[in-house]
Amino acid sequence: MKDKVVKILTFIAAVIILIICGGMVYSLVTGAVPAFEKFGVDFIFKKDWQYTPDNEQYGALPFIVGTLITAFLAVIISFPFSMAVSLFVGEYFKDTKVAAFLGTATELLAGIPSIVYGLWGFYVLRPIMVGMGLSEQGFGIMTSSVVLAIMIIPYAASLSSEFIRMVPNDIKEGAYSLGATKYEVVFHVILPAAASGISSSYILSLGRALGETMAVTMLIGNTNTLPTSLTDTANTMASIIANQFGEAAGLKLSALIAIGLLLFLITALINFIAKMIIKKYAI
């Protein structure tokens, strides 16, 4: 009896999720149709974003570029820190109190709402960037990427440390018995063995950086032009939508929804790649 109830409830819940997910894709696609009808595939490669009433021109390129640059740069900046933390927690100080404390502290970073990161970036990081002479007013791709990097450290670090822990003891012991030093074990045994898992954890955190909206909107400067340097102001796909959906109507609204659809596809693709890597090269 109980079994049946639980079975039915879980089935209903699963179906509802599927329906909602399908509905979202459906409404994104139907909403994006007018923009793609007007501009064709060119929409993805156009760099104008003009709302002059009789000559509306919308292209997603500046936002796609802005999104990819900020996200990849964030992953690059976060790499040395998250890698160090995951090795510390997963291998060097495995199962010690220090590791547990550091692990919790990193995970705490994941719990901070993105608006708080945005505030910190706005009031603390921005003046520092100006002080370093990196930019005139402190807004831009660089500032956003630094904040994004801090935001994704916990994801990359905790996932990678799990994969580092999962490396079987036998092969590590085998290496030690052959006279390998700790350094050699880490860099020649553990890291190659966990490489697929580690890289997929970075791809997943890349996916998170791609979609981050609030903190980026507060820091990127929100200009709709193609960025030419890392200190330029720009807009990401998420931030242009957050900025402009309120007043958008007609073709502009459709262009924003189309950008939403593209973002959805990019993140879906990245998650898919990460899953494939884990599956294919699992230890």
């Binding site: 109830v5 003009q50 009433p53 102001t233």
Partner: protein, 348 residues
């Protein structure tokens, strides 16, 4: 047993939500739209609910969002700083009326360390926003400010990243004073600014100006006053440098205003006028029976607008740095409110 428990839980949740909705017999009206007059509306709506017991829920989601909500029939009124064009009215299909609620100003706020008063002429203002003038100690700025020492600091233009009635008013003004602006950029709720950094909403722009040395931007007046950000005196059409104030904003509306009040009063010719002044409106349907609204709701909506147009509410506009409507505009607005109906019958 398990099912029994489940049923009880489900039923109690069901009844609980029921009770919340049925205890809510009090009339409540809702509106959405512009953030520009928000400080004024917050005050007036509170006074209104204190005197009548009718609550007004207002969402400052931007003029465009407000109009869309009205079109979808999910609000009782929409607020906007840009009156609807003929094409936009045609899109709504049903007849709407614009009720002006007060006058406001868009101020040019800036952040230059130790400079608390600044005079900008019309062409200098346009050239700053066009990116022609890029330094605070540019000769043309110094020319109108002989008494102060301007620093060798880069100008950072701050504008709105979201579409906005404030941008519409500001760019309308720039289009009137600069041929180049009119030809290259134009006036709209959002335009492609050639230089600068953008932020969302009046508070966002005010926040960045407050934080950034060398910044200049445009915001609804109250947002600059409240944050104590310095703002410039602007040169009006008559050639005088004028600070935004209740008196100078009122002066901008002293010219002939059409009965439906749908006019931009930027760059007014009046001698004491602040040049970037504007009306702000509430838009409602002329026929109030739509989207299953009750007669009480329709009545409450009209009551609210009559309250905003009353001398009592108007006189308070100056408290938050807006200006009351000129008397003839107020009378015309009250007259047009009389044409509002419910099922074709006038609303008391």
């Amino acid at each position: 047993m398990m099912i029994m428990k489940l049923k009880i839980v489900v039923l109690s949740v069901f009844f609980a939500t029921c009770c919340i909705s049925c205890s809510n017999v009090k009339t409540e009206i809702s509106g959405a739209g512009a953030t520009f007059p928000l400080p004024y509306y917050n005050m007036v709506f509170k006074d209104f609910s204190d005197t009548t017991g009718i609550n007004v829920a207002y969402g400052g989601i931007g003029s465009g969002g407000g109009i869309r909500s009205l079109k979808d029939g999910i609000v009782d009124f929409a607020a906007t700083d840009a009156f609807l064009s003929k094409a936009e009215e045609a899109e709504i299909a049903k007849s709407v009326i614009h009720v002006p609620t007060c006058l406001g100003a868009v101020v040019v706020a800036y952040n230059v360390p130790e400079i608390s008063s600044l005079r900008l002429s019309a062409d200098v203002l346009a050239d700053i926003f066009l990116g022609v003038i890029t330094k605070w100690n540019d000769g043309r700025i110094v020319e109108t400010n002989p008494d102060i020492v301007l620093p060798d600091l880069n100008i950072t233009v701050i504008y709105r990243s979201d579409g906005s009635g404030t941008t519409n008013v500001f760019t309308d003004y720039l289009s009137k004073i600069s041929d180049r602006w009119r030809a290259e950029i134009g006036a709209a709720k959002s335009v492609s600014f050639p230089v600068g950094v953008a932020a969302k909403g009046n508070p966002g722009v005010a926040g960045i100006i407050g934080q950034t040395a060398g910044a200049i931007g445009y915001v609804g007046s109250e947002y600059a006053f409240a944050r104590k950000i310095a703002f410039a005196s602007l040169q009006n059409k008559a050639g005088k440098f004028v600070k935004p104030s209740t008196a100078s904003i009122s002066a901008a509306a002293s010219a002939n205003i059409p009965a439906d009040s749908k006019i931009m009063i930027t760059n007014s010719a009046a001698e004491e006028a602040y040049p970037i002044s504007c009306f702000t409106w509430i838009v409602i349907y002329r026929e109030q029976n739509y989207a299953k609204r009750s007669p009480e709701q329709a009545q409450a909506t009209v009551k609210l607008l009559n309250f905003i147009l009353s001398n009592e509410a108007q006189s308070k506009a100056a408290n938050v740095h807006y200006a009351p409507l000129p008397e003839n505009v107020r009378c015309n607005a009250l007259k047009s409110l009389k044409s509002v109906t419910y099922n074709g019958k006038a609303i008391e």
